[in-house]
Symmetry: C2
Subunit: 305 residues, 2 copies
Amino acid sequence: MSLLVVGSVAYDGIETPFGKIDRILGGSATYLSLSASYFSRDINLVGVVGRDFADEDINLLKNHDIDLQGLQVDESGDTFFWKGKYHFDLNNRDTLDTQLNVFERFDPVIPAGYRDARYVALGNIEPSLQEKVLDQVQKPDLVVMDTMNFWIEGTPDALKQTLTRVDLLVINDSEARELSGEPNLFKAADKVRAMGPSSLIIKKGEHGALLFTGDEIFSAPAFPVIDIFDPTGAGDTFMGGFLGWVAYTNDTSPTNLRKAVIFGSVMASFCVEKFGPERLKNLTEKEIYDRYREFRRLSQIPEVD
Amino acid sequence: MSLLVVGSVAYDGIETPFGKIDRILGGSATYLSLSASYFSRDINLVGVVGRDFADEDINLLKNHDIDLQGLQVDESGDTFFWKGKYHFDLNNRDTLDTQLNVFERFDPVIPAGYRDARYVALGNIEPSLQEKVLDQVQKPDLVVMDTMNFWIEGTPDALKQTLTRVDLLVINDSEARELSGEPNLFKAADKVRAMGPSSLIIKKGEHGALLFTGDEIFSAPAFPVIDIFDPTGAGDTFMGGFLGWVAYTNDTSPTNLRKAVIFGSVMASFCVEKFGPERLKNLTEKEIYDRYREFRRLSQIPEVD
């Protein structure tokens, strides 16, 4: 089933304790769609790039069967550029440079052929733009949205308005606490779900993720990645794997959403192994399914009589 | 099989955002043995109390079939007293008062009848005292030890010496990072295990626990406790449930250690529901096994083809 992905397409400059790269493909829509492409073959990307966007990057997305009819090329400027440096523990980073460029005028126009999308991924962009996307689509089965502290603090009203129209919110633990004003994550989840999204995923980085859907809570482990090389894009990659699996199976049951959380975690665990989206270029089905099984072994609780 | 528990027996004054109690039974050996008593019927406690130690607290321990031959009563002073106040988020606490009293002169003497213990729980006391216990016991199957930042910083050499004689160390995530100097928990685990303990449990509070044993890593979820009333003793209660199960089953296989981690987590999740050890007084087998099954549901990853 078709998956509509809306978000940023960017170039990133990244410095980690293990290396440095001046310019590499990035952006939430990029990671989302590359990750989802390992499951779903019907991915429609909406975003904007500038005159400097490289053919090889267009080709990378095309080679992953990602439809680019919705990718606007704005010749009046350059592609969104972000530069950041990660601290020693990789949990924190400093933004060194942000050039919004053509992204500043991004107006998500959903092509007619995308409007019947069954699944919608709203990457981390301004909440009012996320809502504009929802104004243009028909009745999707599942709308999944990401956001961040910047919008929780900067545009709380627009964010809360958009949340009322979303089925599943994906945020990290500090964002869940900030959005709800609750230190206890399980209480925070109740409060966030009362704002609109019937389901919620809280990403906890090295501690895994929590899925709240219906009456169920699912606690997913984190993969024991010894050498995290670059965490850039891991959250978007998680959401891409999650939604790619859901779109592929066309199943939003709690049991299938558990599988989707693990496939999202699998993809994120690969993503951090190399710079930017490098590791997402040439994964094999076997690598993905093997790691899924490793996740199962990792958290298997034996039965007792 | 017999379980030897060595640690503090104390009175605590506790203030949480939800209430305040001036004086309640506490101490690592208390929580450890009460928790273990739900599994094992052969628990031998070694500790010291003062002239103020109440008959009702003696009776509580006795009623849980805990052998008190090793509990010294030092009439020259009062029982160890600790008073603390938890912050709003319950993750941090301030110590308001510490009166070591008779605990200052604690010299763990292991009664002859305890020396063939198959399982040994070294509660969080000075590393040199923990080693003194090991000097007195014969060849136990499993020695499990707790420690804390205070000893990591204050007596690093004694701690490292004791670690060489321990089979399994139980510490929390910040302690693992501090002891190893590694921010990545999986790398930290490798370094800590290289110091002596072949197995390691890292407790992560609201994020569950990690068990490292042999080539296996097991990631255990945390129970979604909405109302954590008082976290005092949760770590000791975890270790007590863990070792109680191991002593009861007399099985240190990786699969059984996974079960033990979950039983430890089950007991800790009960412990935090009320003040001090209150909730550990009257649990039923059904409550314990039901919660074990809830842990299984919580982290069950479905198979994929």
